[in-house]
Symmetry: C3
Subunit: 159 residues, 3 copies
């Protein structure tokens, strides 16, 4: 991540830092976005999505999103999801230690304890605020997570 | 949008910039809110809401919110919704180009592809992060969107 | 809340301000988190949660979360929820007046008007943006709310 000195800031255009990182084929999104001192991520799960193979039930809920992932516990899904977020944050110059706020969604409330325990392995001090709800996913997964990180760029001369 | 020079900032009260814009009759909310370098919006859809005419089903879900809008595709709802957000952002001195993070909610997961395509028309580069879920709306609509924009006020003397 | 003067900022480590406040037993979260000029809260409701006593229905929804709270109106739940958020914000040096964005979730859309009225008692001017959805809670409550506040630390020499 480039350091922004007061001098280079003066020379640079006054346009402030806003930069997207990563993408997902077929989706008009970035996986992470730096905006000033903050980095946002898209909600992520441990899933694949194949539009040609997706199957809906009569209520329109996703029965299968066409992925070929093996069955796994919600704890493992949680860990994979957080590792996916870690990768996206890394592209934007952050780690999970910089996360300040998280949203967690579960398909089944009974998965709460398993998810909670796996989640806690990743956040052991100065823990982010969190919101958690049961939801119907667009994709075939049991958990999705989105985070906001705070990681100011170092600006010499201001500190 | 007023420019804040270092001089005027010195003269002005030290109170930092926080300002709501727009409102919706009967709702104690702003449609957009500037807080420092960021602008938040309320979640918006392409809907009207007439409390006197709203009809709920036996589960409490909204069958009709009393609006008189014509039937339209989810793509058109998406476009109208983004134009509504654009108007709210404009009041706060931003455009959709300044959006860094978005949340999208759909009533029916089968609307995903149509929504996704219409959404992509508005965000073609440096695309915001996004989260998307199936949800039950309080209102009679198929899609709602909320965005966060990043648009620092220009402060002379700092850049 | 400590004042950060330019002098002390120079002497202090360049690490920017990020600090969690409050916790909930058994949950790896903070109730409020300051990140620079912003303060985030966890979603809160007026509920207790006793993992040993929680009861789920056949769909996995929470029928009882083991709390011993008396029955009360959604208006009272809303007020208690906002007072809980107020306490969390206070630990981080903020009040409800500093809130710029809110998310509200309701179990039953028919509670909208009662919630809306009680909510409006707390936000009478420069009202935060808001998003509101029907959702299935992980806990036995009718309303949950999460807020983001904007309350810059005073930095002498910058204003």
């Amino acid at each position: 991540m480039a350091r922004l000195t007061r001098k280079s800031a003066k020379r640079a255009a006054p346009r402030p830092l806003k930069q997207g990182y990563g993408s997902e084929p077929g989706f008009p999104i970035s996986l992470a976005m730096r905006a000033g001192d903050f980095v946002f991520t898209s909600a992520q799960g441990d899933h694949e999505f194949d539009p040609a193979k997706v199957v809906y039930d009569e209520r329109g809920l996703v029965v299968s999103d066409g992925n070929s992932l093996p069955p796994r516990s919600v704890a493992d899904e949680t860990r994979s999801t957080l590792r996916n977020l870690e990768k996206a944050l890394k592209q934007a110059g952050c780690t999970l230690d910089d996360v300040v706020d998280a949203s967690v969604w579960l398909r089944d409330p009974r998965d709460f304890h398993q998810m909670n325990k796996a989640y806690g392995e990743f956040f052991t001090r100065n823990q982010p605020t969190r919101s958690i709800f049961r939801i119907d996913f667009m994709f075939d997964c049991r958990v999705e997570i989105k985070v906001t990180a705070y990681k100011p760029l170092v600006r010499r001369g201001r500190q």
